[in-house]
């Protein structure tokens, strides 16, 4: 059944379409974004905490917003089916979590090389063992080397906006690699928050399979003997330089996506109180806690800056350097044990020593604001009884 929608471009959808306030979970927010993205096909496989997103997407398919949908055999089967369908020239969506992402990783890391445009929802969860379904975003560290564009949503509103923007970014001719939208399981997906959403009669314009840097594999566009992902393997008639320039092209696509992050997300980072000496730099729901810590500090008359990182890949090296050029201390709260965000920041700024690698929680533990405040007091050299208070 055709739901007569008003098809608009992403700039109008994100910036001009009138919005109403709703109070929904992060999973609902992602599903509502998929509803407004004229998605052709979504392929699902359950794993907590992602399952809510994909079964809501299933309902959206049943209502007629999506043309095709099925539950696959497991994550690798899901991701390979996505790669097959995207080559056929249709718009794809799927989502997964923790161990599911790692199981599907073999296909996911080959997507950029195959120039597969699709949106991947990553609702982060602990990577066992020991087993836990609780939130922890260490899985994003694996994705950072895949070439996939990575957006990290702080809350339900971000999840809605970033997922919508991802559909536009992934199909840009000079990008045309997958875009992932990550957010923390439970803290965001199963918690309710205010989301301003446009009416569902608005939707993103349909995909054009021939507005692409590679031919669709549908026997309609030449060259007939096409080989989108040439097995440029060891054989004697290939030069290995083709493989290396091919890899370069993928990471160039990743860096070209930055201008669209500016266009649709207003830039890769958000800076509050840029002249402070002490900065908190965070992404995902750790940024929500950091925003709260920033509010506490203001109430106590302390000058603390906040840098929220929205885009993990392409990594905003220049923007991070500009924001932290006068910083004396950089506090990086994270929801994983290895601290992939603090490592990226230390690798970007010339004076990496000022980065405080923490506070870090993981395994599903929450990130109390007091933990961040403690680091702020230490950084500002305040005496210890304030710490006890």
């Amino acid at each position: 059944m055709s739901l007569n929608k008003t098809l608009v471009d992403m700039d109008y959808l994100l910036n001009e379409a009138p919005r109403e306030k709703h109070f929904i979970t992060g999973a609902q927010a992602m599903a509502e974004a998929v509803k407004r993205a004229s998605v052709d096909m979504a392929i699902a496989y359950p794993i907590t905490p992602q399952s809510e997103v994909m079964h809501l997407v299933g309902d959206i398919y049943a209502q007629g917003h999506i043309k095709e949908y099925y539950r696959a055999e497991e994550e690798l089967g899901t991701m390979s089916a996505i790669a097959g369908a995207a080559r056929g020239g249709v718009r794809m969506f799927t989502a997964t979590s923790g161990p599911g992402l790692l199981r599907g990783l073999e296909a996911i890391v080959s997507w950029p090389g195959h120039r597969i445009p699709c949106v991947l929802g990553v609702l982060t969860r602990v990577v066992n063992a020991p087993l836990s379904i609780q939130p922890d975003n260490i899985e994003m560290a694996y994705l950072m080397h895949s070439g996939v564009v990575m957006l990290h949503a702080e809350n339900q509103q971000d999840t809605f906006d970033y997922t919508l923007a991802a559909f536009a970014i992934t199909e840009k001719v000079d990008v045309y690699i997958p875009v992932s939208v990550s957010t923390e399981g439970f803290f965001v997906t199963h918690a309710k928050g205010y989301v301003d959403m446009m009416d569902e009669k608005y939707a993103f314009t349909e995909v054009d399979p021939y507005h692409a840097p590679v031919p669709a594999m549908d026997n309609e566009v030449p060259p007939a003997r096409i080989q989108r992902d040439a097995p440029v393997q060891k054989s004697n008639f290939m030069s290995y330089l083709i493989h290396s320039v091919w890899q370069q092209e993928i990471w160039d696509c990743n860096s070209r996506a930055m201008k669209y992050v500016y266009q649709y997300l207003g830039g890769p980072i958000e800076v509050i109180n840029p002249d402070a000496d002490v900065f908190i730099v965070a992404s995902g729901c750790a940024a929500a806690q950091s925003r709260e810590a920033n509010r506490y500090a203001e109430e106590e008359g302390l000058s603390v800056g906040l840098v929220k990182v929205k885009c993990i890949r392409p990594w905003p090296r220049k923007e991070i350097n500009d924001a932290l050029k006068n910083a004396k201390t950089v506090i990086v709260p994270e929801h994983n044990i290895i601290g992939w965000l603090s490592k990226e920041i230390k690798a970007s700024i010339p004076n990496g020593g000022i980065v405080v690698e923490g506070p870090r929680v993981y395994g599903g533990m929450t990130l109390p604001v007091e933990l961040i405040m403690e680091e702020i007091y230490i950084a500002l050299g305040m005496d210890s009884e304030k710490l006890q208070a």
Partner: protein, 237 residues
């Protein structure tokens, strides 16, 4: 203006143009040596290169070689007109992106998996790519810049290519005609006499003499030349 993207060979393992900070030109503008310039300026520099360097060649890609869309007809016509205005210009097609076993005939085609074979064998010093999908165009242009001393011009129907010395974007038949006029203009300024001549046909095609026939040309008499069951044919041409 400093030249960021220069004629190769730039080295064993090239740094890609985007990673050197070169950005695609906005609509209406073009790229020349990695800098954003007016389209005419890029076209003039490209025309001068095609007119002054050896073995100028046009590489039409699959999107203009095969008749899959209505704009292919006038685009291919414009390309041939452009080629006929450039002295001793050749056309070498890129009909396919697939790595072909054992090796392509470098006189007859160019392949994105090893474009340097064709460039080096034919000693091409200036070329134009048109109608090639952006991904394969970027691979081709980067490998040419890495290993050959060939001035590359990319005429792209979409956003253009940072790797080419000159990159024209949003190219349709009218932009090709415009480029042809600039070639003629620059040619006259340089005082090069030239009468419009069509480029030579593909060297791999058999000359159209009817001496050599293939079985299919026999039509329904094909059975005559096919060996019967049990008949033992010793030597076959």
């Amino acid at each position: 203006m400093s030249k960021k993207i220069t004629v190769g060979p730039v080295g064993y393992m090239p740094q890609s143009a985007p990673s050197m900070g070169v950005e695609l030109s906005p609509e209406g503008k073009a790229l020349l040596y990695g800098n954003i310039v007016e389209e005419e300026e890029a076209m003039r520099d490209a025309a001068k290169a095609l007119l002054t360097m050896n073995n100028p060649t046009i590489f039409p890609g699959p999107q203009v070689l095969w008749d899959w869309r209505e704009d292919v007809a006038d685009k291919s016509a414009a390309i041939l007109d452009l080629a006929s205005e450039i002295p001793n210009c050749k056309i070498i097609p890129m009909p396919d992106y697939r790595p072909k076993y054992p090796k392509i005939d470098v006189k007859a085609e160019i392949n994105p998996n090893h474009p340097n074979l064709t460039i080096l064998d034919n000693k091409i010093k200036a070329c134009v790519f048109i109608g090639v999908h952006c991904h394969y165009a970027n691979l081709t242009l980067r490998m040419i810049r890495a290993g050959t001393s060939c001035y590359t011009v990319a005429m792209c129907a979409m956003m253009g290519h940072e790797e080419a010395m000159a990159s024209i974007r949003d190219v349709h038949a009218d932009s090709i005609v415009k480029f042809k006029d600039i070639v003629i203009q620059v040619r006259n300024e340089l005082g090069i006499e030239h009468t419009t001549t069509m480029p030579p046909e593909n060297p791999s095609l058999p000359k159209e003499d009817w001496g050599s026939l293939t079985p299919a040309d026999y039509g329904e008499y094909r059975a005559l030349i096919m060996s019967k069951k049990g008949e033992h044919v010793t030597a076959v041409e």
